[in-house]
Symmetry: C2
Subunit: 215 residues, 2 copies
Amino acid sequence: MDFHTEFKPLTVQPQEIEGKSFNMIDEEFGEHAFTKRQYKVVQRVVHASADFELGHSMLFHDEAIQAGINAIKRGEQVYADVQMILSGVSKGRIEKHGGSVNVYISDPDVMEEAKRLNTTRAIISVRKAIQQFDGGVFAIGNAPTALLELIRLIKEGYAKPSLVIGLPVGFVSAPESKEELAKLDVPFITNVGRKGGSTITVAALNAISLLAEKA
Amino acid sequence: MDFHTEFKPLTVQPQEIEGKSFNMIDEEFGEHAFTKRQYKVVQRVVHASADFELGHSMLFHDEAIQAGINAIKRGEQVYADVQMILSGVSKGRIEKHGGSVNVYISDPDVMEEAKRLNTTRAIISVRKAIQQFDGGVFAIGNAPTALLELIRLIKEGYAKPSLVIGLPVGFVSAPESKEELAKLDVPFITNVGRKGGSTITVAALNAISLLAEKA
């Protein structure tokens, strides 16, 4: 088969599309009280979702952006609750500083321990992360149980993450888990309500590593 | 570290959460004209996004659901435009019939060919899929260029997919690509507007394989 007979080279390059999209987002976003750097994260979230409501629902701890930049540049490890985040995130900007993105949810030891304790793999995988590294960026886009466990471990003094990106999507537990996160005095990026998910978490994480590149 | 001191076994099981979420979706969804089986797809899309607007924007070719079920049960191959879809989708219900989920975007031959022709890897990976298998389920959640190329190949008689799930997200090209898809008389699942993405595409694909299980 020769698919090339009708082939026309691209007239619009991907980077051009991204620039145009960001201009459209800026025009339509409306008023807000985000700082300039927080808005960079919000912009990517809207770019990944085409959802302005989600963009306006974003919530930042005052130190979140700087803490995230510092963590990436120090080469701290990144934890992600699900494989989709690992697949979607731009790993180069994290790895060049020595960090990597870690998902433990399908590790045999995590599965075994979850079964033994009659709990979720998400909870055990957070515990594994806490045992594997100090500080770190915790990116949770799927499992409210992972976020709730992380919050518990922070409160009890076991965990001291450099940044928590908590953006699980869902009708049950997800909104509540994000409310709990927003009460903590740790650097966090989260949002109000049910919306979120892996692609949104990837967008936030990518925005932070981009800011780290320019910082 | 002993994290188990405060450990409480789960009182709410994941399946219970899913059931509760689906009840909430049913209660809030409001009026619609979807068939019973189309609504199963819509319900999962809303579950994955917490976005009722997105749910109501879904669009189905009349034969889409049945064609998708048949394709899965015949063990046809599934193409996905990005790795996130492969990571997120429930593969067991596809693989048990002999199908598998295929992503070509990072294959060396695809990267080389895209460079040679000055085009996107997404376009070349769609062409590769067409050369690899007949029929098939095409799940596109990210790259409008992939969807537009598939539409072109269908129109020119090179491709005859059993089902096209076209749900790219974005401000530029994405809405237009989905409009073009909705004009074709091939089994499609898409939506109107900018919203969509990998998690939404995964939800639609999972819904179809679940329907295949019960058919």
